[in-house]
Symmetry: C2
Amino acid sequence: MKLAVDAMGGDRAPQVIVEGALSAVQTWKDLEIVLVGDEQRIQPFLKAGHSRIHIRHTKEWITAEDEPVKSIRRKKEASMVLCGEMVKNGEAEALISAGNTGALMATALLIVGRMAGIERPALASILPTLAGKSVMLLDSGANMDASPQHLLDYAEMGYLYMNRVQHIDKPRIGLLNVGTEAAKGNQLTKQAYPLLEASDRIRFVGNIEARDLVSGEVDVVVCDGFIGNVVLKFYEGIGSGLLRELKSTFLANWRTKLGALLVKQEFKRMQKKFDYAEYGGAPMLGIEGICIKAHGSSNARAIHNAIGQAYECVKGNVVETIRELKHMGDDEPK
Amino acid sequence: MKLAVDAMGGDRAPQVIVEGALSAVQTWKDLEIVLVGDEQRIQPFLKAGHSRIHIRHTKEWITAEDEPVKSIRRKKEASMVLCGEMVKNGEAEALISAGNTGALMATALLIVGRMAGIERPALASILPTLAGKSVMLLDSGANMDASPQHLLDYAEMGYLYMNRVQHIDKPRIGLLNVGTEAAKGNQLTKQAYPLLEASDRIRFVGNIEARDLVSGEVDVVVCDGFIGNVVLKFYEGIGSGLLRELKSTFLANWRTKLGALLVKQEFKRMQKKFDYAEYGGAPMLGIEGICIKAHGSSNARAIHNAIGQAYECVKGNVVETIRELKHMGDDEPK
């Protein structure tokens, strides 16, 4: 299996990207990786190299500040764009990038291509929960406004993903809402609820409140991309904020420093539960190929896990399964 | 100044309500409180009583399970309903309740009454930030769907509230969004942005991302009531979840228990920063009277602070000021 990895995307590229790739080929023995980027900048981290890691050289890449759609149109040789083309042409089975999220969504949509039958592909973020397992939140920012039908598409794609990639038997799907009663919510959720309830392709467990998003009661949470993105950023903001707060509490004086020393080990274990690096990246679902967005501040372990996630997506035939789902839909009486 | 306090609302009523009232009349010397509720259940906590605390007896109250609009119509003698009528009739200058949120919003709207010119009153929650001060989030759940004009109303009301009650000079108003650029967001925020920017009655500082909600960069955040309620519940859910997680980390073994002992004092100080009890309740803005929703799980200190908040609202002429704002609007050329 050959995967295309954008070596130039993310805050710590190319170093952590190369290190993550090196570690990934150790873990998955039938994996080949094409690192797309500046050979001169990649090579120092690749050291002796690896027989299953190749470089596709380019001098262009997309930065965090680049305007998404414009940049992928103008920078024809950008590493992310080349990764997209490799997936489109069948040279690679998936692409992984820690670069500009908007540009990656544009690459997925405009270069790899939207799947027929899916009007709005969704960005599906995988979040840690207090229960120590992950929950998929989609759409987490691909489309700001959604229709009830879009939410149903998200639910069906999320269900298949969690089943095929995370091997969850009958994943539980929740609709993000302000209360658990069916009649609760805004226009969108009130209309989406009966559609989700009527679908026999998913296991809809009803509305869930935001507090249950982190309790691990469901496997997939669907919502429009505006609220999904707000919730995602809020989660990251609170998480990192509280962590900073705790750290400064531990550093207050000699007593607290000694206290910190005593709880260090258990505290690290708790932190690990919330470490995004353990959970892989965010797949774009509804695309004619696997596109994984790794976190911009990914370390090598996060890149390793995002590559592993792409590997599982390919093994689990995620794209084909979602495509079949939509064809099944075409045959059904309307 | 006379305030009506619903003695029967909240998880720990009437005990903490009575205790909060007793402590409030100690703090504010020109304050009289009418405790509305079951005299027999109130009296034991009132002990010797206080010359500025009165009881208005009733045998009826609204429970957390009651359907909001139905219950306030059917339970004519419910403590919360009587509080609303006292404000309506001028017998009290404000009402405070820790009871059923939906029923309190219905009481505010249908009994106290909506203010002319405000199409949609908003529930305004006061949240702690990492910076150690509070931020007002509105609408946090009164109206699920909002128009751009509603968001402008929220911004103007929030601005006046923070200025008059929290004495902030030129409070900074942010629009909750997925990015800081003006063109970001969904249909609603894209249309609301220019309205907010054009208003010379507020200090609009632009879009803010959810992560900055807790960083203390703005004083007021406006959004529709659906997303506001989701964010509010998410904040509470993560906060209490992480706290539980930390506590169990501290209890893991003898080493961590000793460590916990050493950081206890500083940890409590940090916790206090995030204690909703310190921040008062959520005022309903756009109502012809002061209505404060205290947290359902309020302790006596939270009730004391919610009463103090109502006191400041009356002193600050919040209702009159918002009413004048809308009249000013009527005179302006359209």
